[in-house]
C-alpha cells in the first residue's frame, strides 16, 4: 500500500526499466544511422586504403613495371599483366584481357613514376577534384622475381 506523495519501490524499478529501454532503443538507432552514413565512397581514407591494398598485392608478385602515358603496367611470371590507368578522372585496374574495375573516381590529376634501374620501385600520386581533399602519394617495391 502506497501513501499519497511517496514512490513505491515498484515504480522506481519500472522507471529504471523504462529509461534503460528507451536508452537502448536510442543507442541502436544511433548505431545504425552512423553505420549508414559512413559508406566507403564518401570516406576518402577508406577508399585510399583500398587503392593501397590493391597496389600492394600486385607489387608482391610483379617482377617488372612499365610506365606509360597515364598508365602503369605490372608484369609478372607467366606473362601476367595488370594495368593501372587514369582515365576521365578515374583510377582503373585491369587484369590482362578482363574488364577494368574502377578503384577511385573524382580525380583532377594523377600519375605514375618508376625509379631508375636496378631499383624496382614504382610511385603513384593522385589529386582529388576537391582541393580540400588530401592527395595520395606513396610507393611500392616490386617483390616478384626479376625477369
Amino acid at each position: 500500500m502506497t501513501r499519497r506523495g511517496q514512490i513505491s519501490i515498484e515504480s522506481v524499478f519500472l522507471g529504471a526499466f523504462v529509461i534503460m529501454l528507451l536508452g537502448t532503443i536510442f543507442s541502436l538507432y544511433r548505431f545504425h544511422s552512423l553505420g549508414s552514413t559512413t559508406s566507403p565512397g564518401h570516406d576518402l581514407p577508406s577508399t585510399y586504403q583500398g587503392v593501397l591494398n590493391s597496389l600492394r598485392n600486385d607489387a608482391r608478385w610483379a617482377g617488372q613495371v612499365e610506365i606509360q602515358e597515364n598508365a602503369m603496367v605490372f608484369s609478372g611470371p607467366d606473362a601476367t599483366t595488370v594495368t593501372y590507368s587514369i582515365v576521365d578522372g578515374s583510377l582503373l585496374r585491369r587484369e590482362a584481357n578482363n574488364r577494368a574495375t574502377t578503384l577511385l573516381t573524382g580525380l583532377r590529376a594523377g600519375g605514375f613514376d618508376a625509379a631508375a634501374a636496378p631499383v624496382r620501385l614504382c610511385s603513384i600520386w593522385l589529386l582529388p577534384l576537391d582541393d580540400l581533399d588530401m592527395p595520395f602519394f606513396t610507393s611500392f617495391a616490386l617483390r616478384g622475381p626479376r625477369p
Partner: protein
C-alpha cells in the same frame, strides 16, 4: 528516504546506458594528415626495401629530421628518401606540382637504424607533422637482414669453431 533510494536506483540504471552509448560511438578514424603521414612512411620503407633488393649489401643510413620537399629557405637538404621524387632529382618544388608540394610540405622524415642480433638490422621511418598546434609522429618499422660489418665480424668467434 524513499526519494533518495529512487534517485540512487535511477542513477545506477544509467551506468550500463552510458556504456552502451560509448559502444555505439564510431571508432576514431585516422585524420587526413595521419593517413598521409602513414603513406609517406610506407614510401620510405618501400624505397629501402627496393634499394636493398637491388644491392643486398646496401643498408639505409640513419638520418635526422629532414624536409621531404624543397623549401624556399633552402638551407636544409631534402631527405634522401625523397630524392629523386617523381622524376625530379633534387626533390619536389612548388613549380613541379603545386598541390602535391603544398600537401607534402608540412611533413618531415627521420630514419633510425639499429643493428640487432642474428644479422638483423632494424629500420624505423618516422614522419612528423604538426596538427592542432601539437607535434605528431607516425612511424613504420622493418627488419632487414645484413652481413655483419667487418669490424664486428673480426671480434665475433669464428663460426663452426670447435
Amino acid at each position: 528516504m524513499e526519494l533518495l533510494l529512487a534517485a540512487c536506483l535511477l542513477s545506477i540504471s544509467l551506468v550500463p546506458l552510458l556504456y552502451v552509448f560509448r559502444l555505439t560511438r564510431p571508432p576514431e578514424r585516422k585524420t587526413a594528415m595521419e593517413f598521409q603521414a602513414t603513406l609517406l612512411a610506407h614510401h620510405v620503407l618501400e624505397r629501402i626495401v627496393a634499394e636493398k633488393e637491388a644491392d643486398p649489401n646496401a643498408l639505409p643510413q640513419m638520418t635526422p629530421e629532414e624536409p621531404i620537399v624543397i623549401r624556399e629557405e633552402g638551407y636544409r637538404a631534402v631527405s634522401s628518401y625523397f630524392r629523386p621524387l617523381l622524376g625530379h632529382e633534387q626533390g619536389l618544388e612548388e613549380s613541379h606540382n603545386g598541390r602535391l608540394f603544398w600537401s607534402l610540405k608540412p611533413f618531415q622524415c627521420q630514419v633510425d637504424t639499429y643493428y640487432l642480433e642474428n644479422h638483423l638490422y632494424k629500420v624505423i621511418a618516422y614522419i612528423t607533422y604538426e596538427e592542432d598546434g601539437r607535434k605528431k609522429r607516425v612511424f613504420l618499422e622493418r627488419l632487414l637482414d645484413h652481413p655483419l660489418p667487418q669490424s664486428l665480424s673480426s671480434l665475433s668467434p669464428a663460426e663452426g669453431a670447435p
